[in-house]
Symmetry: C2
Amino acid sequence: MTTATERGARERILAAAVERIARDGIDGVRIARIAMDAGVSTSLVHYHFETRDALLEQALEYSYELAGDVRLGPEGDAHNLDSVGRLAAMIDQFLPYPGLLERDWILWVELWLRAVRHPEMRPTAARLYARMRDWFAEAIATGMERGELSGGLDPGRVADRIIALSDGYGVRVLFGDMDIDHAREEMWTTIRDELGLPEQAPPRLFGEGAGVPAPESSP
Amino acid sequence: MTTATERGARERILAAAVERIARDGIDGVRIARIAMDAGVSTSLVHYHFETRDALLEQALEYSYELAGDVRLGPEGDAHNLDSVGRLAAMIDQFLPYPGLLERDWILWVELWLRAVRHPEMRPTAARLYARMRDWFAEAIATGMERGELSGGLDPGRVADRIIALSDGYGVRVLFGDMDIDHAREEMWTTIRDELGLPEQAPPRLFGEGAGVPAPESSP
DNA sequence: TCCTTTGTTGAACGCCCGTTCAGGTAACCG
DNA sequence: CGGTTACCTGAACGGGCGTTCAACAAAGGA
Protein backbone atom coordinates (compact mmCIF):
# COMPACT_ATOMS: atom_id res chain seq x y z
CA MET A 1 0.00 0.00 0.00
CA THR A 2 2.29 2.72 1.17
CA THR A 3 5.87 3.11 0.09
CA ALA A 4 6.44 0.45 2.63
CA THR A 5 9.75 -1.15 1.80
CA GLU A 6 9.28 -2.54 -1.63
CA ARG A 7 12.79 -3.89 -1.45
CA GLY A 8 13.18 -4.11 2.25
CA ALA A 9 14.71 -1.25 4.15
CA ARG A 10 17.65 -3.32 5.16
CA GLU A 11 18.75 -3.93 1.64
CA ARG A 12 18.17 -0.34 0.66
CA ILE A 13 20.43 0.72 3.48
CA LEU A 14 23.11 -1.67 2.32
CA ALA A 15 22.91 -0.39 -1.23
CA ALA A 16 23.05 3.22 -0.08
CA ALA A 17 26.02 2.40 2.11
CA VAL A 18 27.92 0.85 -0.78
CA GLU A 19 27.30 3.87 -2.93
CA ARG A 20 28.36 6.23 -0.20
CA ILE A 21 31.47 4.28 0.65
CA ALA A 22 32.57 4.48 -2.95
CA ARG A 23 31.92 8.19 -3.04
CA ASP A 24 33.17 9.31 0.35
CA GLY A 25 35.41 6.50 1.49
CA ILE A 26 34.91 4.10 4.36
CA ASP A 27 36.00 6.67 6.89
CA GLY A 28 34.15 9.50 5.26
CA VAL A 29 30.78 7.81 5.38
CA ARG A 30 28.25 9.31 7.79
CA ILE A 31 25.40 7.10 8.77
CA ALA A 32 23.08 10.08 8.70
CA ARG A 33 23.93 10.36 5.01
CA ILE A 34 23.34 6.72 4.34
CA ALA A 35 20.00 6.95 6.11
CA MET A 36 19.04 9.96 4.03
CA ASP A 37 20.02 8.23 0.81
CA ALA A 38 18.03 5.18 1.78
CA GLY A 39 15.08 7.32 2.82
CA VAL A 40 15.02 6.18 6.42
CA SER A 41 15.96 7.51 9.81
CA THR A 42 19.29 6.95 11.44
CA SER A 43 17.52 5.01 14.15
CA LEU A 44 16.39 2.46 11.64
CA VAL A 45 19.92 1.96 10.51
CA HIS A 46 20.80 1.08 14.05
CA TYR A 47 17.79 -1.13 14.29
CA HIS A 48 19.04 -3.26 11.42
CA PHE A 49 22.75 -2.99 12.14
CA GLU A 50 24.26 -3.22 15.54
CA THR A 51 26.94 -0.63 14.92
CA ARG A 52 28.41 1.54 12.23
CA ASP A 53 31.36 -0.74 11.69
CA ALA A 54 29.10 -3.74 11.36
CA LEU A 55 27.06 -1.96 8.72
CA LEU A 56 30.08 -0.96 6.71
CA GLU A 57 31.59 -4.39 6.91
CA GLN A 58 28.41 -6.03 5.71
CA ALA A 59 28.01 -3.43 3.00
CA LEU A 60 31.48 -4.17 1.68
CA GLU A 61 30.94 -7.90 1.71
CA TYR A 62 27.61 -7.35 0.00
CA SER A 63 29.15 -5.28 -2.77
CA TYR A 64 32.03 -7.66 -3.37
CA GLU A 65 29.70 -10.59 -3.69
CA LEU A 66 27.62 -8.58 -6.10
CA ALA A 67 30.56 -7.44 -8.17
CA GLY A 68 31.85 -10.95 -8.36
CA ASP A 69 28.51 -12.34 -9.41
CA VAL A 70 28.09 -9.80 -12.15
CA ARG A 71 31.46 -10.64 -13.63
CA LEU A 72 31.51 -14.32 -13.01
CA GLY A 73 27.87 -15.09 -13.67
CA PRO A 74 26.71 -16.72 -16.90
CA GLU A 75 25.67 -13.40 -18.44
CA GLY A 76 28.95 -11.80 -17.53
CA ASP A 77 30.89 -14.52 -19.19
CA ALA A 78 31.14 -15.18 -22.88
CA HIS A 79 31.16 -18.89 -23.41
CA ASN A 80 30.15 -18.59 -26.99
CA LEU A 81 33.45 -16.96 -27.97
CA ASP A 82 36.69 -18.72 -28.71
CA SER A 83 39.29 -18.70 -25.98
CA VAL A 84 41.07 -15.66 -27.30
CA GLY A 85 37.92 -13.61 -27.50
CA ARG A 86 36.79 -14.83 -24.15
CA LEU A 87 40.05 -13.86 -22.52
CA ALA A 88 39.92 -10.43 -24.09
CA ALA A 89 36.39 -9.94 -22.86
CA MET A 90 37.37 -11.01 -19.38
CA ILE A 91 40.21 -8.55 -19.28
CA ASP A 92 37.83 -5.82 -20.31
CA GLN A 93 35.73 -6.64 -17.33
CA PHE A 94 38.57 -5.89 -15.01
CA LEU A 95 39.61 -2.47 -16.17
CA PRO A 96 38.04 0.63 -14.62
CA TYR A 97 35.87 1.82 -17.44
CA PRO A 98 34.58 5.27 -16.58
CA GLY A 99 31.33 5.21 -14.69
CA LEU A 100 31.03 1.49 -15.16
CA LEU A 101 33.54 -0.28 -13.02
CA GLU A 102 35.02 2.72 -11.31
CA ARG A 103 32.84 2.27 -8.28
CA ASP A 104 33.95 -1.33 -7.87
CA TRP A 105 37.54 -0.35 -8.34
CA ILE A 106 37.41 2.24 -5.63
CA LEU A 107 35.88 -0.25 -3.27
CA TRP A 108 38.64 -2.57 -4.31
CA VAL A 109 41.39 -0.23 -3.31
CA GLU A 110 39.51 0.52 -0.13
CA LEU A 111 39.59 -3.20 0.58
CA TRP A 112 43.32 -3.42 0.01
CA LEU A 113 43.98 -0.75 2.54
CA ARG A 114 41.60 -2.20 5.06
CA ALA A 115 42.98 -5.69 4.64
CA VAL A 116 46.45 -4.41 5.40
CA ARG A 117 45.40 -2.73 8.61
CA HIS A 118 42.73 -5.13 9.78
CA PRO A 119 43.87 -8.73 9.43
CA GLU A 120 40.34 -9.96 9.99
CA MET A 121 39.51 -8.45 6.64
CA ARG A 122 42.14 -10.46 4.80
CA PRO A 123 40.10 -13.60 4.25
CA THR A 124 37.56 -11.51 2.39
CA ALA A 125 40.22 -10.10 0.14
CA ALA A 126 41.89 -13.45 -0.31
CA ARG A 127 38.59 -15.08 -1.21
CA LEU A 128 37.95 -12.49 -3.85
CA TYR A 129 41.36 -12.90 -5.39
CA ALA A 130 41.04 -16.65 -5.36
CA ARG A 131 37.78 -16.32 -7.21
CA MET A 132 39.24 -14.08 -9.88
CA ARG A 133 42.24 -16.30 -10.20
CA ASP A 134 40.14 -19.41 -10.65
CA TRP A 135 38.02 -17.65 -13.19
CA PHE A 136 40.97 -16.73 -15.37
CA ALA A 137 42.81 -19.98 -14.81
CA GLU A 138 39.81 -22.00 -15.90
CA ALA A 139 39.48 -20.00 -19.10
CA ILE A 140 43.17 -20.38 -19.85
CA ALA A 141 43.20 -24.09 -19.13
CA THR A 142 40.22 -24.58 -21.38
CA GLY A 143 41.91 -22.63 -24.13
CA MET A 144 44.98 -24.79 -23.80
CA GLU A 145 43.03 -28.00 -23.98
CA ARG A 146 41.38 -26.77 -27.13
CA GLY A 147 44.75 -25.88 -28.51
CA GLU A 148 43.79 -22.26 -28.97
CA LEU A 149 46.35 -21.10 -26.46
CA SER A 150 49.89 -22.34 -26.28
CA GLY A 151 50.30 -24.96 -23.59
CA GLY A 152 53.11 -25.62 -21.21
CA LEU A 153 52.30 -22.79 -18.87
CA ASP A 154 50.74 -22.92 -15.47
CA PRO A 155 47.29 -21.38 -15.89
CA GLY A 156 47.26 -20.22 -12.29
CA ARG A 157 50.46 -18.29 -12.73
CA VAL A 158 49.27 -16.70 -15.91
CA ALA A 159 46.06 -15.79 -14.13
CA ASP A 160 48.03 -14.14 -11.37
CA ARG A 161 49.99 -12.20 -13.92
CA ILE A 162 46.88 -10.98 -15.65
CA ILE A 163 45.44 -9.87 -12.34
CA ALA A 164 48.65 -8.13 -11.37
CA LEU A 165 48.77 -6.27 -14.65
CA SER A 166 45.13 -5.36 -14.34
CA ASP A 167 45.64 -3.99 -10.84
CA GLY A 168 48.79 -2.17 -11.76
CA TYR A 169 47.58 -0.53 -14.92
CA GLY A 170 44.06 -0.11 -13.57
CA VAL A 171 45.16 1.94 -10.65
CA ARG A 172 46.89 4.42 -12.88
CA VAL A 173 43.88 4.62 -15.13
CA LEU A 174 41.74 5.15 -12.08
CA PHE A 175 43.38 8.35 -11.01
CA GLY A 176 43.83 9.63 -14.49
CA ASP A 177 47.49 8.98 -15.07
CA MET A 178 46.97 6.68 -18.01
CA ASP A 179 44.51 6.32 -20.83
CA ILE A 180 42.34 3.26 -20.51
CA ASP A 181 42.76 2.24 -24.12
CA HIS A 182 46.49 2.38 -23.72
CA ALA A 183 46.30 0.24 -20.61
CA ARG A 184 44.11 -2.24 -22.40
CA GLU A 185 46.48 -2.40 -25.33
CA GLU A 186 49.46 -2.94 -23.08
CA MET A 187 47.77 -5.68 -21.13
CA TRP A 188 46.69 -7.39 -24.25
CA THR A 189 50.07 -7.44 -25.94
CA THR A 190 51.75 -8.71 -22.79
CA ILE A 191 49.34 -11.57 -22.40
CA ARG A 192 49.26 -12.28 -26.10
CA ASP A 193 53.00 -12.77 -26.15
CA GLU A 194 52.82 -14.86 -23.05
CA LEU A 195 50.27 -17.20 -24.55
CA GLY A 196 51.97 -17.41 -27.90
CA LEU A 197 49.17 -15.84 -29.86
CA PRO A 198 49.74 -14.24 -33.24
CA GLU A 199 49.66 -10.48 -33.48
CA GLN A 200 46.07 -9.50 -33.61
CA ALA A 201 43.96 -6.74 -32.26
CA PRO A 202 42.16 -7.53 -29.04
CA PRO A 203 38.69 -8.66 -30.08
CA ARG A 204 36.11 -5.89 -29.66
CA LEU A 205 35.87 -3.37 -26.93
CA PHE A 206 33.44 -3.17 -24.07
CA GLY A 207 29.95 -1.88 -24.77
CA GLU A 208 28.43 -2.67 -28.16
CA GLY A 209 29.49 -6.30 -28.13
CA ALA A 210 27.28 -9.28 -27.75
CA GLY A 211 27.00 -10.83 -24.32
CA VAL A 212 28.57 -8.17 -22.22
CA PRO A 213 26.28 -6.91 -19.50
CA ALA A 214 25.13 -3.35 -19.27
CA PRO A 215 25.73 -1.41 -16.08
CA GLU A 216 23.44 -2.74 -13.42
CA SER A 217 21.03 -0.14 -12.20
CA SER A 218 18.58 -0.29 -9.38
CA PRO A 219 16.42 2.77 -8.80
CA MET B 1 74.39 24.82 19.10
CA THR B 2 71.64 23.09 21.00
CA THR B 3 68.73 25.13 19.92
CA ALA B 4 65.72 24.16 21.90
CA THR B 5 64.79 21.52 19.39
CA GLU B 6 67.59 19.85 17.57
CA ARG B 7 65.60 19.10 14.50
CA GLY B 8 63.00 21.80 14.62
CA ALA B 9 59.54 21.10 15.93
CA ARG B 10 58.00 21.57 12.55
CA GLU B 11 59.93 18.78 10.98
CA ARG B 12 59.38 16.50 13.93
CA ILE B 13 55.67 17.06 13.55
CA LEU B 14 55.84 16.18 9.90
CA ALA B 15 57.76 13.00 10.59
CA ALA B 16 55.35 11.98 13.31
CA ALA B 17 52.44 12.69 11.00
CA VAL B 18 53.89 10.47 8.29
CA GLU B 19 54.37 7.63 10.73
CA ARG B 20 50.89 8.01 12.09
CA ILE B 21 49.27 8.19 8.68
CA ALA B 22 50.92 4.93 7.71
CA ARG B 23 49.75 3.31 10.91
CA ASP B 24 46.25 4.68 11.29
CA GLY B 25 45.37 5.93 7.82
CA ILE B 26 44.80 9.48 6.69
CA ASP B 27 41.35 9.58 8.18
CA GLY B 28 42.32 7.78 11.32
CA VAL B 29 45.03 10.23 12.26
CA ARG B 30 44.34 12.40 15.32
CA ILE B 31 46.38 15.51 15.65
CA ALA B 32 46.53 15.02 19.39
CA ARG B 33 48.34 11.77 18.65
CA ILE B 34 50.72 13.38 16.23
CA ALA B 35 51.46 16.06 18.78
CA MET B 36 52.14 13.45 21.44
CA ASP B 37 54.43 11.48 19.14
CA ALA B 38 56.33 14.62 18.27
CA GLY B 39 56.50 15.64 21.91
CA VAL B 40 54.65 18.90 21.51
CA SER B 41 51.24 20.32 22.27
CA THR B 42 48.36 20.33 19.83
CA SER B 43 48.48 24.10 19.85
CA LEU B 44 51.95 24.04 18.42
CA VAL B 45 50.79 21.86 15.59
CA HIS B 46 48.26 24.52 14.75
CA TYR B 47 50.88 27.16 15.08
CA HIS B 48 52.95 25.55 12.36
CA PHE B 49 50.12 24.27 10.21
CA GLU B 50 47.03 26.23 9.41
CA THR B 51 44.69 23.28 9.54
CA ARG B 52 44.64 19.53 9.90
CA ASP B 53 44.19 18.93 6.20
CA ALA B 54 47.10 21.22 5.41
CA LEU B 55 49.31 19.29 7.79
CA LEU B 56 48.38 15.93 6.33
CA GLU B 57 48.82 17.13 2.80
CA GLN B 58 52.28 18.49 3.54
CA ALA B 59 53.17 15.36 5.45
CA LEU B 60 52.28 13.20 2.49
CA GLU B 61 54.21 15.34 0.06
CA TYR B 62 57.12 15.29 2.46
CA SER B 63 57.12 11.51 2.70
CA TYR B 64 56.83 10.98 -1.03
CA GLU B 65 59.74 13.23 -1.70
CA LEU B 66 61.72 11.39 0.92
CA ALA B 67 60.83 7.95 -0.37
CA GLY B 68 61.73 8.99 -3.87
CA ASP B 69 65.04 10.42 -2.80
CA VAL B 70 66.00 7.29 -0.93
CA ARG B 71 65.31 5.12 -3.93
CA LEU B 72 66.52 7.43 -6.59
CA GLY B 73 69.50 8.91 -4.80
CA PRO B 74 73.05 7.86 -5.56
CA GLU B 75 73.24 5.51 -2.55
CA GLY B 76 69.96 3.89 -3.43
CA ASP B 77 71.06 3.20 -6.94
CA ALA B 78 73.69 0.71 -8.01
CA HIS B 79 75.64 2.19 -10.83
CA ASN B 80 78.51 -0.17 -10.35
CA LEU B 81 76.45 -3.19 -11.39
CA ASP B 82 75.74 -4.30 -14.93
CA SER B 83 72.36 -3.46 -16.35
CA VAL B 84 70.80 -6.75 -15.41
CA GLY B 85 71.93 -6.53 -11.83
CA ARG B 86 70.95 -2.94 -11.63
CA LEU B 87 67.46 -3.67 -12.90
CA ALA B 88 67.04 -6.50 -10.44
CA ALA B 89 68.14 -4.26 -7.62
CA MET B 90 65.71 -1.58 -8.69
CA ILE B 91 62.86 -4.03 -8.74
CA ASP B 92 63.76 -5.10 -5.25
CA GLN B 93 63.42 -1.53 -4.15
CA PHE B 94 59.83 -1.46 -5.23
CA LEU B 95 58.46 -4.51 -3.50
CA PRO B 96 57.00 -4.23 -0.01
CA TYR B 97 59.66 -5.99 2.00
CA PRO B 98 58.33 -6.49 5.52
CA GLY B 99 59.10 -3.62 7.81
CA LEU B 100 61.23 -1.98 5.22
CA LEU B 101 59.08 -0.62 2.46
CA GLU B 102 55.71 -1.48 3.89
CA ARG B 103 55.21 1.96 5.30
CA ASP B 104 55.87 3.58 1.96
CA TRP B 105 53.56 1.14 0.26
CA ILE B 106 50.71 1.91 2.57
CA LEU B 107 51.18 5.60 1.99
CA TRP B 108 51.24 4.78 -1.69
CA VAL B 109 47.86 3.10 -1.65
CA GLU B 110 46.57 5.91 0.48
CA LEU B 111 47.69 8.28 -2.23
CA TRP B 112 45.92 6.32 -4.94
CA LEU B 113 42.66 6.55 -3.12
CA ARG B 114 43.07 10.19 -2.35
CA ALA B 115 44.05 11.04 -5.89
CA VAL B 116 40.89 9.41 -7.17
CA ARG B 117 38.66 11.41 -4.88
CA HIS B 118 40.55 14.67 -4.76
CA PRO B 119 41.67 15.72 -8.24
CA GLU B 120 43.98 18.34 -6.75
CA MET B 121 46.03 15.44 -5.43
CA ARG B 122 46.57 13.93 -8.87
CA PRO B 123 49.53 16.03 -9.91
CA THR B 124 51.39 14.74 -6.88
CA ALA B 125 50.64 11.15 -7.83
CA ALA B 126 51.42 11.76 -11.47
CA ARG B 127 54.71 13.40 -10.60
CA LEU B 128 55.71 10.41 -8.53
CA TYR B 129 54.87 7.96 -11.25
CA ALA B 130 56.70 10.02 -13.81
CA ARG B 131 59.75 9.94 -11.63
CA MET B 132 59.65 6.18 -11.20
CA ARG B 133 59.04 5.73 -14.86
CA ASP B 134 61.98 7.90 -15.82
CA TRP B 135 64.15 6.09 -13.38
CA PHE B 136 63.41 2.69 -14.87
CA ALA B 137 63.39 3.93 -18.43
CA GLU B 138 66.81 5.46 -18.07
CA ALA B 139 68.24 2.24 -16.71
CA ILE B 140 66.70 0.24 -19.52
CA ALA B 141 67.84 2.63 -22.21
CA THR B 142 71.36 2.54 -20.83
CA GLY B 143 71.28 -1.24 -20.79
CA MET B 144 70.18 -1.27 -24.40
CA GLU B 145 72.90 1.08 -25.48
CA ARG B 146 75.44 -1.13 -23.81
CA GLY B 147 73.92 -4.12 -25.54
CA GLU B 148 73.21 -5.85 -22.28
CA LEU B 149 69.50 -5.71 -22.86
CA SER B 150 67.79 -6.53 -26.11
CA GLY B 151 66.93 -3.40 -28.04
CA GLY B 152 63.93 -2.57 -30.13
CA LEU B 153 61.63 -1.89 -27.24
CA ASP B 154 60.37 1.41 -25.96
CA PRO B 155 62.04 1.87 -22.57
CA GLY B 156 59.14 3.94 -21.33
CA ARG B 157 56.66 1.22 -22.05
CA VAL B 158 58.78 -1.41 -20.43
CA ALA B 159 59.13 0.87 -17.43
CA ASP B 160 55.37 1.22 -17.23
CA ARG B 161 55.03 -2.53 -17.37
CA ILE B 162 57.50 -3.05 -14.58
CA ILE B 163 55.68 -0.53 -12.45
CA ALA B 164 52.33 -2.11 -13.19
CA LEU B 165 53.61 -5.53 -12.24
CA SER B 166 55.19 -4.15 -9.13
CA ASP B 167 51.96 -2.47 -8.08
CA GLY B 168 49.85 -5.47 -8.92
CA TYR B 169 51.96 -8.10 -7.23
CA GLY B 170 52.99 -5.77 -4.45
CA VAL B 171 49.49 -5.10 -3.34
CA ARG B 172 48.83 -8.80 -2.89
CA VAL B 173 52.04 -9.21 -0.99
CA LEU B 174 51.08 -6.28 1.15
CA PHE B 175 47.96 -7.82 2.55
CA GLY B 176 49.44 -11.23 2.82
CA ASP B 177 47.88 -12.96 -0.17
CA MET B 178 51.19 -13.76 -1.82
CA ASP B 179 54.69 -14.57 -0.76
CA ILE B 180 57.14 -11.82 -1.55
CA ASP B 181 59.74 -14.16 -2.97
CA HIS B 182 57.17 -15.59 -5.30
CA ALA B 183 56.16 -12.11 -6.43
CA ARG B 184 59.78 -11.23 -6.98
CA GLU B 185 60.37 -14.38 -8.99
CA GLU B 186 57.31 -13.75 -11.14
CA MET B 187 58.26 -10.18 -11.84
CA TRP B 188 61.75 -11.14 -12.71
CA THR B 189 60.85 -13.88 -15.17
CA THR B 190 58.33 -11.64 -16.89
CA ILE B 191 60.79 -8.86 -17.36
CA ARG B 192 63.60 -11.19 -18.22
CA ASP B 193 61.60 -12.64 -21.08
CA GLU B 194 60.59 -9.20 -22.18
CA LEU B 195 64.14 -8.00 -22.37
CA GLY B 196 65.45 -11.13 -24.01
CA LEU B 197 67.73 -12.15 -21.20
CA PRO B 198 68.91 -15.72 -20.77
CA GLU B 199 67.43 -17.76 -17.97
CA GLN B 200 69.26 -16.78 -14.87
CA ALA B 201 68.39 -16.26 -11.28
CA PRO B 202 67.65 -12.70 -10.31
CA PRO B 203 70.91 -11.35 -8.95
CA ARG B 204 70.98 -11.36 -5.14
CA LEU B 205 68.21 -10.47 -2.80
CA PHE B 206 67.74 -7.35 -0.79
CA GLY B 207 70.48 -6.44 1.64
CA GLU B 208 70.37 -7.46 5.25
CA GLY B 209 68.92 -4.89 7.53
CA ALA B 210 70.25 -1.85 5.78
CA GLY B 211 67.88 0.03 3.54
CA VAL B 212 70.38 0.06 0.75
CA PRO B 213 71.78 -2.80 -1.25
CA ALA B 214 75.04 -4.26 -0.06
CA PRO B 215 78.07 -2.78 -1.83
CA GLU B 216 79.67 -6.01 -2.99
CA SER B 217 78.19 -8.20 -5.67
CA SER B 218 77.45 -11.87 -5.21
CA PRO B 219 80.48 -14.15 -4.86
C1' DT C 1 66.28 48.70 28.99
C1' DC C 2 61.91 47.99 26.72
C1' DC C 3 59.50 46.25 22.95
C1' DT C 4 58.58 43.11 19.23
C1' DT C 5 58.78 38.73 17.22
C1' DT C 6 58.86 33.82 17.48
C1' DG C 7 57.83 29.46 19.60
C1' DT C 8 55.20 27.26 22.87
C1' DT C 9 51.59 25.94 26.16
C1' DG C 10 47.06 24.55 28.97
C1' DA C 11 42.53 25.19 28.91
C1' DA C 12 38.26 25.85 27.04
C1' DC C 13 34.80 26.05 23.21
C1' DG C 14 31.80 24.09 20.09
C1' DC C 15 30.45 21.01 16.66
C1' DC C 16 29.90 16.77 14.54
C1' DC C 17 28.09 12.28 14.72
C1' DG C 18 27.38 7.60 16.61
C1' DT C 19 24.47 5.81 19.70
C1' DT C 20 20.41 5.43 22.87
C1' DC C 21 15.73 5.96 24.45
C1' DA C 22 10.94 6.33 24.78
C1' DG C 23 7.60 5.94 22.21
C1' DG C 24 4.34 5.00 18.00
C1' DT C 25 2.36 2.50 14.27
C1' DA C 26 0.73 -1.67 11.90
C1' DA C 27 0.51 -6.50 11.26
C1' DC C 28 -0.07 -10.91 13.10
C1' DC C 29 -1.73 -14.32 16.38
C1' DG C 30 -4.74 -16.10 20.04
C1' DC D 1 -10.87 -7.89 20.34
C1' DG D 2 -6.14 -7.74 23.53
C1' DG D 3 -1.48 -8.76 23.34
C1' DT D 4 2.88 -9.65 21.37
C1' DT D 5 6.13 -8.72 17.83
C1' DA D 6 8.41 -6.37 13.98
C1' DC D 7 9.47 -1.77 11.99
C1' DC D 8 10.22 2.69 12.35
C1' DT D 9 10.69 7.52 14.21
C1' DG D 10 12.19 12.21 16.56
C1' DA D 11 14.78 13.88 19.95
C1' DA D 12 18.31 14.05 23.02
C1' DC D 13 22.83 12.61 25.06
C1' DG D 14 27.63 12.41 25.26
C1' DG D 15 32.25 11.77 23.77
C1' DG D 16 35.85 12.84 20.68
C1' DC D 17 38.44 16.10 18.46
C1' DG D 18 39.69 20.19 15.59
C1' DT D 19 40.26 24.68 16.55
C1' DT D 20 40.78 29.11 19.19
C1' DC D 21 42.56 32.01 22.78
C1' DA D 22 45.09 34.26 26.35
C1' DA D 23 49.28 34.06 28.23
C1' DC D 24 54.28 33.37 28.77
C1' DA D 25 59.31 32.54 27.97
C1' DA D 26 63.23 33.60 25.29
C1' DA D 27 65.65 35.95 21.86
C1' DG D 28 66.99 39.71 19.46
C1' DG D 29 66.80 44.96 17.92
C1' DA D 30 66.79 49.67 18.71
